[in-house]
Symmetry: C2
């Protein structure tokens, strides 16, 4: 299966391997859609909760325009950007989706997802289509639990340089890789 | 205030800045203590939930020896290691605390914490003393919510090379830093 738009090929990615994309802690772009309108926000507060089906917990503040859309539609896409589009990521974080179309404003391309309504972002190297499965901690912590129902990856990006937020505009860019004799999954 | 042991100086670190240590997604070492015995486990599934007081959500699997100690004592320390001790981190992940003293076995130095019983790990560049404040999702997801009550840092480590788990023994080592014009905290 393959998704294509604007010359970008995305390949289906095994759900069993999704944890390896999020565990290192990259900044992600969360897309939502409501009343025919898509929005995107930058997010760093997320964690894996289960390997399979891949289950992710994340904080979407109720000060964000995306909060109401996520709570109402229970669908979103987690898109993982790399340093090449770091500038667009920061601009997404700086502006509110209430007043602008961030896709058009920041040069991001919306591609249709296969299982959910919010779009994939073509420029991101991986895209995880998600549904909200648990909301008990939304009131207290704005903490949503998502199940990934479909994952996509750009097979051309072998070593994606993800970005990791250190606070106040400082980011760490993914560095070298090492391999150790681990029994951990 | 300063904590010292084995020539390692740790300085008190502002709670308001703790999010910047965990947001980039490093592997951490979680220490617990019960019945006079300390244990340590490697952990990658964590996220910030609140800036202040710094609140952290994390998964401690009930297959881990640390689970029962954390649930019973409601105290732990999140220690942030760097690549210099990556080998010890992996060994902590490979072995169960039921059968060995991981501190002695892997050359880690326990230092007394100031507010909780579990020890700080001297070799880690930052240490966060935590108390469990919410357990509603422990049964379903082994997800504990912690409040950081005291934070320590090694002031000599300007650019800590944290490690980030990619799965099955592969780690990304923190790379270069960039600064962008962000309005985000």
């Amino acid at each position: 299966m393959a998704a294509k738009r604007s010359g970008v090929h995305k390949k289906s990615f095994a759900l069993s391997k999704v944890y390896g994309l999020l565990e290192p802690g990259p900044v992600v772009l969360l897309t939502t859609a409501r009343k025919g309108r898509a929005n995107v926000m930058a997010m760093s507060w997320h964690t894996m909760l289960e390997f399979e089906p891949p289950t992710v917990g994340c904080v979407v503040s109720d000060r964000n325009f995306s909060f109401a859309a996520l709570r109402a539609t229970k669908e979103c896409v987690i898109n993982i950007p790399t340093v090449e589009i770091a500038y667009a990521v920061v601009r997404c974080g700086n502006r509110c989706g209430r007043t602008i179309d961030k896709f058009a404003a920041f040069g991001l391309t919306a591609m249709p997802a296969s299982r959910v309504s919010p779009p994939l972002i073509a420029e991101c190297y991986a895209n995880l289509e998600c549904r909200v499965v648990e909301t008990r901690l939304v009131r207290k912590y704005c903490f949503f639990i998502l199940e990934v129902c479909k994952a996509w990856i750009d097979p051309a990006r072998r070593v994606p340089r993800t970005i990791h937020h250190l606070g106040r505009g400082a980011f760490m860019v993914a560095g070298r890789r090492i391999k150790l004799a681990s029994k951990m999954k």
